[in-house]
């Protein structure tokens, strides 16, 4: 199998963003498959470096990466320590702990490695005993510079990584997946990675794009929208699960992609004990609406609001949840409106109140002239009927006072 260098680089960048949860100074060295994290500043939060390293190894393992971590006062020393799983707390101990390491572990190019072996050097401590001038003369300034940086004699400034404005990740599936249920596990991995990145950058997502790659077929695209930004993998998973119920896979799936085109700022907000503040009730409703819409389709969950129009059938409309309702309450209106007025015989009803003349709509071609009455039928039901003069004469039922 060949190395897919661009994909490796992309994976490293995603991991760097993910590691932002644990350190505000992350560096991707251009020349090797690894990351440098500054761990001293967050020691109070995450504990001593060796505990942090263990946690990183464990969590990266859950994401599907095999990681070795080590810590030391300098980056290069930490790199060497990582190969052996060493943790070097003090600068003075670097020489002692790293001394026995074989030269093959050092970050040197192959020609230099070979030359050093021929000269009989086996361990790092052998190299460290030599005077600078001798090393410079034989190998050029790079090697002593490297050793100085390992020991901390020379500073080793690194270019810091800056997290990007968006997130994009893909996963090639080891075996073809034929059912939507089977996609949940790999998608969960991608979601966990995304949420680590979000936590690290104090950001949140409100829109996710999921691409599903097939062998011989155009990619399937799934859009997942939320009512409010979130960092919560559980919530994303709940909505995703409902959305996948609706999805038809045209072919087996070989690859999945997850993209969050915009990362928004995140406000955590307070939580109360019973979750009964209006704000939290609203949040719960938003989460419900997301899940329902993921399964039933957009527009299946709405609020209601009024419209300024005298004609009853035009005086209301559905509204999105984040829109404020604006409606005047009217006391003599039926609770329910029939979707279409139904012809009726007024003789079968007893008129309780009326007429209320509604005459309107000459400007949009649906004008009407009606007299509305509140009526009661022989079964005791209270209904809303009107007598239409224009456009069609006749008596109709329009509402129910249920």
């Amino acid at each position: 199998m060949e190395h897919d260098r661009p994909a490796e680089r992309q994976a490293l960048e995603r991991l760097a963003a993910w590691c932002y949860q644990y350190s505000s100074q992350v560096c991707i060295p251009g020349d090797r498959n690894g990351l440098f994290l500054e761990a001293g500043a967050s020691e109070r939060l995450f504990g001593p470096p060796d505990r942090l390293c263990k946690r990183l190894e464990q969590e990266l393992g859950q994401l599907g990466y095999q990681a070795m971590a080590g810590s030391a006062p300098t980056p290069e020393a930490a790199w060497l320590g990582a190969r052996e799983g060493l943790h070097i707390p003090l600068p003075g101990q670097v020489r002692q702990q790293l001394g026995p390491l074989p030269l093959s572990l050092l970050h040197l190019d192959a020609a230099q490695q070979a030359a050093l072996e021929r000269m009989g050097f086996r361990q790092l401590r052998d190299l460290l005993r030599l005077p600078h001038k001798a090393l410079t003369r034989r190998f050029g300034p790079a090697l002593p510079d490297y050793l100085d940086r390992v020991l901390g004699i020379r500073p080793d400034p690194r270019a810091m990584y800056h997290p990007p404005e968006s997130f994009s990740s893909r996963l090639e599936l080891p075996a073809e997946i034929h059912s939507c249920q089977g996609l949940l596990f790999p998608l969960n991995r991608l979601l966990e990675e995304l949420c680590g990145v979000l936590r690290g950058g104090d950001t949140a997502v409100q829109l996710l794009l999921i691409g599903i790659g097939h062998e011989d077929h155009e990619d399937s695209l799934v859009k997942l929208g939320l009512q409010s930004p979130t960092q919560d993998a559980g919530r994303l998973m709940a909505v995703l699960r409902e959305r996948l119920e609706r999805l038809r896979l045209p072919q087996a799936v070989r690859e999945i992609r997850l993209e969050a085109p915009t990362l928004l700022r995140f406000n955590a907000g307070q939580h109360s004990l019973f979750r009964d503040t209006p704000a939290e009730q609203r949040q719960d409703i938003e989460h419900l609406a997301e899940r329902l819409q993921a399964r039933l389709g957009n527009g299946s969950v709405t609020g209601l609001t009024g419209v300024e129009d005298h004609r009853p059938e035009y005086s209301w409309r559905p509204r999105a949840l984040d829109e404020r309702p604006d409606c005047t309450g009217l006391p003599h209106r039926p609770t329910w409106l029939l979707p279409n007025p139904r012809r009726c015989t007024i003789g079968s009803y007893e008129i309780l109140a009326g007429p209320e003349r509604i005459e309107s709509g000459w400007w949009d071609g649906h004008d009407c002239r009606r007299d509305y009455y509140i009526v009661r039928d022989s079964d005791g039901c209270t209904l809303w009927a009107f007598r239409e003069y224009k456009p069609h004469r006749g008596w109709y039922l329009h509402g129910i006072f249920a």
Binding site: G306, W316, R342, C344, I374, G380
Partner: protein, 251 residues
């Protein structure tokens, strides 16, 4: 002192060491004659209440206005799942419901509708869910009731008359029948703690005497008898659904 007790009694989320005599947490319905017959003196919290009506328009939904209005003012939500007609915002607003905290869910019916109802009942805590299930069996009803219990919600199911012949695990079952000049009669078919034999009488709205050509008066539920001013009587069953009025909006 009594007001503190009222506040403590009204929130369903607070467990009190010695429960009320019925052990049923309930929210007052706003109709004193109904409450006096119900265990817990109101609609049961965390349980199903079935409202069975011979015909729509007897006042089955209007019964709920007081409790739904009070939920809204406490910051809790009312969810309507697949109502058979259009809930009319000016009327709801006029009766005190908070449109800001009203959710309307439309599904393709059948199992999807029941699924949505169950999701709504399981979500969060507090509030009310109202549903009009087309067909629902005992097992499903039990699931909905357990879902309501898990979130301490009020759950109202509106069911056709045939449902009165079926068994149901709902905590409360009311059947509404026309009572002629007595208004609407509510028969309590089932409630926790035994049912009263006589029906509860709820007056109908817009009871008025006299000339039908009056202008609309401010409506108040009146206990006066209706003097029928019927015109030539044809029963409702002769109403034939006609073609839609052109321009009438399909929701």
């Amino acid at each position: 002192m009594s007001s503190i007790n009222q506040i403590l009694d009204s929130t369903p989320l607070l467990w009190k060491g010695r429960q009320a005599s019925h052990g049923q947490r309930a929210l007052p319905s706003g109709h004193a004659s109904l409450d006096s017959h119900l265990p817990g003196r109101g609609w049961p919290l965390g349980a199903l209440s079935e409202l069975i009506s011979t015909n729509p328009g007897l006042g089955e939904f209007r019964l709920l206005f007081p409790v739904l209005a009070s939920l809204g003012s406490q910051g809790q939500w009312v969810i309507l799942v697949d109502p058979p007609w259009i809930p009319y915002p000016p009327a709801l607003q006029g009766q005190g419901l908070l449109l800001e905290r009203l959710l309307l869910v439309r599904t393709r019916g059948g199992r999807e509708s029941l699924w949505a109802c169950e999701q709504a009942l399981r979500n969060g805590r507090g509030g009310a869910v109202l549903a009009w299930p087309e067909q629902i069996g005992f097992a499903r009803l039990r699931r909905l009731q357990m879902a309501a219990e898990s979130s301490a919600k009020l759950a109202f199911l509106f069911r056709p008359e045939s449902a009165s012949q079926e068994s149901s695990p709902a905590a409360l079952r009311l059947q509404l029948k026309p009572g002629g000049c007595h208004g609407t009669l509510i028969h309590i078919l089932k409630c926790r703690g035994g049912c009263p034999p006589e029906p509860v009488r709820i007056p109908q709205p817009f009871s008025t005497i006299g000339n039908p050509r009056q202008h609309i008066e401010h409506h108040a539920p009146s206990t006066e008898n209706i003097i029928p001013a019927t015109l030539a009587g044809h029963p409702l069953s002769t109403v034939v659904p006609g073609p839609p009025v052109p321009g009438a909006k399909l929701h």
